[in-house]
Structures are given as C-alpha cells and as structure tokens.
Amino acid sequence: MFGAFAGGIIVGLVEATTALILPPSLKSVGIYAVYLLVVFIRPRGLFGSM
C-alpha cells in the first residue's frame, strides 16, 4: 500500500524534473529509466519483500 503511494509520487516528480532537463518529447524516458533502475537493483520493487 505504501509502495503504490511512494511510487506515484516518484513517477510524478521524475516526470516533471525530466521535462526540465531533457526536451519535452523525451519526458517519459525519465520514468522508464527510473523503473528499470529500481527493478534492476530490487527485482521485486522498492518495498517488495526480497
């Protein structure tokens, strides 16, 4: 439950910040990259049990 909450906030923040740095057409890349990064480090998600 807490995972979905935190995930939602992270996605929102990352999307907004990527749009600042990269051209707007690439703004989804930030979220995708964060997803991959999180899942490669913790294959069951940020708060998933290992």
Partner: protein, 328 residues
C-alpha cells in the same frame, strides 16, 4: 512415447511441406493485388509470431517489446541502404546480428526479473528506444526514412510492379521460422526452454543453466524478428518510428501466437492465418480511419478464445483427433 513423439514430428514436417507448396501455388490463382498484399502480411506475421513464440512461448519469458527488434531490423536495412548504399540483403543479416547482440545485452539485466516485472521492463525498453529514434535527427527523427526506388531487382530487393517476389520471400521467411522452431523443439535447447518455462528453480537444480538458455532464446528470437523487420522496410519502402517500433507491433507479434496456442508449433501459424486477414477485412469494411475498430475485434476475439480455449486454437485439433500428446 518416444516413437510417438518422433512420429508426430515427422507428420508435422510433412504437413508443413504440403502447406508451403499449397501456399506457393495460391498466387497463381489469386491475381488481386489487395488480396496478395494481405497474404504477404499474413505470412510475415506468421513468421514474426513464430519467432516471438521461441522466447515467449517455449522459454516462457513473455516479451511485449519485440517491436524493438522489428524496428532495429527495419532501421538497420533502411539506414545502410539510404546512407551507405549497402544492399538490403546485407542489411538483413546486419540487422539480425545487431538485434541478437542487443537482445543479449538487454537480457543480461532483464532476465533476473520475473513475471510482470519482466513484461513491464520489455515494454519500457521498447518505448525508450522508440522515443530515442523519434528524436534522432540523422535517422530521420519522427519523419522516418523514405527508401529510394532504384528499379525492380532481386539484388536490391525492390519490386514496384508486382507483389509476388515479396510474397515468396515472406513465405520463405515463415518456412524458415517454422523450421527453426521445429528443429529447436527437439533439441537440447528446446527441452531446456520448456523446463525453464515450467519451473525455473527446479530446472536450475537439475543442471539447466537457466540464464544461458533464456539468452539463447532471446538471441534466436530477436534475429528472426529483425529479419522480418528488414523485409517489412523493403516491402513498404517507407518507415517511420511509430510505424515500425510502435507498441502495436509487439502486440501484433504476440496475439497470433496467443490466439493459436502459446508455446506450440502450429499456434502462431494458425493464429496469423485467422487474425491478420480478419483485421485487414474489418479495416477495409468498417470505417476509413481504421485505427480503432480492428483492435476492438482483436480484443473481443482474444477474450472469447481465451475464455473458451485457454490453450489456444490448436487445442481444438488435438481434441478432434483425440490425441493428448499434441497439446503439450
């Protein structure tokens, strides 16, 4: 048991040869260009879906990002041809090789993931690649690449007057994809893949190197899909990122296999033969925009079939003939 399996494999091979001969004769009687176009697409999707089935059906690693390899194949061929004048035949091999290498490079981190995490990762990677190509000016960005017409020849693999050469190439591609699957099914790799699909932990404990077998499946699958992508680029002679790397291609590769029977030899062929003509027909009969309605038919069909026949359409045949071993 063993002899029965060998018998079935021989029967499959004979049946495939007969079907290929029949398919090769069809254009002699069907002269309508529109129908020929549908047949080319059907054969292409049969080949693509068969290749997708290797990784996602046999090895059980459901990928919804195969549009990435399709687009890579298409873009490699088109870029090599337009920028460096390299013949599409070499482009095809190059695209396949690049895709296979990239599939393994992506597989290295991704194959640690399981279930939904893996599926989402494949979608996300394909989307990133799509966005990057859309913003890559040298490769035409969002406008895409127009492949210049240099006259009809097998050497340049361009035919402006007739669709027959494309038809025979697509048929050959479908046959190759089928034969590769047929051959792999009874090879060491085929058994490993099915073991990995059923239970990766048990397979690992019995000495199957799960990671390597997934990598092998990904490489073969990506190579064949990229060759299909190269073919598509030559066939339509104009590509743009959305039209070769869009998410709908990942779905269009997965759906025939899922509809026909995932992880079966005949499933992708059967699924493509039913699904592709059906979508083309709905597209031509229902409305001109055609981007939505055919997908509604897809959805309805998939839901209906997955409810009625969870093992796909091929399970109908094994029910009819009463042989249990066909529905592995």
């Amino acid at each position: 048991m063993d002899t029965q399996f060998a018998q079935r494999r021989r029967r499959d091979l004979i049946m495939a040869a007969c079907l290929a001969v029949v398919a090769a004769l069809v254009p002699l009687f069907v002269k309508d260009v529109y129908v020929q176009n549908i047949m080319v697409l059907t054969l292409m999707y049969a080949a693509l879906s068969q290749s997708w089935n290797i990784l996602s059906g046999y090895c059980g690693q459901i990928s919804l990002g195969h549009a990435l390899y399709f687009g890579l194949g298409a873009y490699t061929t088109a870029l090599l041809f337009t920028k460096f004048g390299v013949l599409p035949w070499f482009g095809m091999v190059a695209g396949g090789a690049i895709s296979a290498v990239i599939a393994m490079a992506l597989g290295y981190p991704c194959f640690r993931l399981r279930g939904h995490y893996f599926v989402i990762a494949t979608i996300v990677i394909a989307e990133i690649a799509l966005l990057l190509i859309q913003n890559w000016d040298w490769a035409g960005a969002a406008l895409g690449i127009d492949i210049p017409v240099r006259g009809d020849s097998w050497l340049k693999f361009q035919f402006t007057r007739s669709k027959l050469p494309y038809f025979y190439f697509a048929l050959a591609l479908a046959c190759i994809a089928w034969l590769v699957t047929w051959w792999l099914e009874d090879s060491k790799w085929g058994y490993w893949w099915r073991a990995v699909k059923d239970n990766p932990d048990a397979a690992e404990s019995l000495g199957v190197v799960v990671f390597n077998s997934k990598m092998g499946a990904a490489a073969v699958s990506a190579f064949l899909v990229a060759v299909g992508g190269s073919f598509y680029a030559q066939f339509v002679s104009y590509i743009d990122p959305e039209s070769v790397m869009g998410f709908q291609f990942s779905l269009l590769m997965a759906l025939p296999a899922v509809l026909g029977g995932i992880g079966t030899l005949w499933g992708p062929v059967l699924g493509a033969v039913i699904l592709i003509p059906l979508t083309e027909l709905t597209r031509s009969f229902v409305g001109g925009s055609g981007r939505g309605v055919d997908l509604i038919v897809y959805g309805a069909l998939i839901v209906a079939i997955s409810l009625a026949l969870p093992k796909g359409l091929v399970s109908v045949f094994s029910m009819l003939t009463g042989c249990k071993e066909a529905a592995r």
